[in-house]
């Protein structure tokens, strides 16, 4: 036990970490065993500190930098994933918008006389006219009790809706539309608020309303 303690004290003293350096120094000067151990530690330390460093492969740093570059690429990839999803969504939105207006134009060109006349009307002017007329307290020209004025028309692969009969147009639907118009004063907002299939029907009704006016 004494030997173990002595060696620990000398080891700490050798490293300059002794809590009682004076006492250990005295011990080394007076105790042959402590002195011998101190000398052995010096020799050991000298041997360890003189160990030759290895010759690192010449391409070591190149390999590290290659791995680091690969790591950078892996870090970038997820970023693209984050960017990719919104980008894809935005692209889809653009495509959908373009398709919508293409279909809108075709529909308008191949539609009834009323629709053709509508295409000549600037939507902003249309919106303004409607808002003005509502503001003047005009009554809606359309009446109807059934809400199912839209009937599915399965032409091709897509289901489209057409007005079954404008005369039975639901006043609730129109009320909702006009309320939006009053609030927003924006034709496009009204269009956006419509459900699928209502767009074409509402366009026709609005055109008819304006033209009749």
């Amino acid at each position: 036990m004494r030997k173990k303690r002595l060696r620990r004290l000398v080891s700490e003293y050798y490293d300059g970490k002794s809590r009682h350096p004076e006492r250990v120094r005295e011990l080394i000067q007076t105790d042959p065993e402590a002195a011998a151990y101190f000398q052995e530690l010096q020799a050991l330390s000298s041997q360890l500190r003189s160990l030759p460093s290895p010759s690192v492969s010449p391409d070591f740093s190149v390999r590290v930098m290659q791995n680091v570059a690969q790591l950078d690429m892996e870090r970038v990839r997820p970023r693209w994933q984050w960017v990719g999803l919104p980008a894809a969504a935005a692209a889809l939105l653009v495509i959908a918008t373009v398709l919508f207006f293409e279909v809108y134009k075709q529909d308008t060109r191949s539609g009834s006389n009323t629709q053709s006349q509508f295409t000549a009307i600037d939507p902003d002017v249309l919106s303004e006219v409607i808002v003005t007329r509502i503001a003047q307290g005009e009554e809606l020209p359309w009446q109807g009790e059934a809400f199912d004025m839209f009937e599915p028309n399965t032409s091709g692969s897509e289901v489209e809706y057409e007005i079954a009969d404008a005369s039975i147009y639901s006043p609730e639907v129109f009320g909702r539309m006009l309320a939006t118009l009053e609030e927003e004063s924006d034709f496009y907002t009204v269009i956006d608020s419509l459900e699928n299939g209502e767009v074409g029907a509402m366009r026709d009704l609005l055109a008819e309303y304006v033209l009749e006016g």
Binding site: R7, R8, A36, L48, P52, S57, V64, V68, L71
Partner: protein, 197 residues
Amino acid sequence: MSQDIAEIPDWDLVERAKNGEMRAFEELLRRYQTPVVHFCQRMIGSLQDAEDVAQECFVRLYRVLPQLKPKAKFTTVLFGIARNLTLNAIRDAERRGRSKTFSLAGDLEKGEWYLPDERQDPRRTAEMGELDEKIQRSLLALAPEHREVILLREVEQMDYEEIARVTGTLVGTVKSRLSRAREQLRLRLMELGGNEP
């Protein structure tokens, strides 16, 4: 960069590397590749394995750069990574049966020392003198927790506090491990006839 890059302190290089300056990281690599490979080689035994571990060490360093803060000496961070990786490598080797804890009276006499690849590596063999080989054998015979403290103290010349940081232990533990490591190393070298004061 107006200042000579070789004169820039480690933590300043870390900050520059964080900002994407690859030259700064390359300078850290240049400064420490040899000490890290040396430490890994003394811990593991094989220079080739040591280079693989050291390579991983620098890649890990690069990966954790954004989280690094200059709270202690940079070398304690770097050698902390190296130390963890070498211990993993030693454990993996033990699982594969490549290494074992040596008993001087047993394995040495049976000639079953683990010197992986050392004898097949002409570059290493040429470099290692007789004494160096004895020291390396004796180091590898120590338990990894003793081997690491003596290498960090004597080869890397870290103080007790730095060793405690690297090894994740208390200073008191470092003191006792270092004392035991020295004693065991001294005994093993004496048995090999390599520690004549």
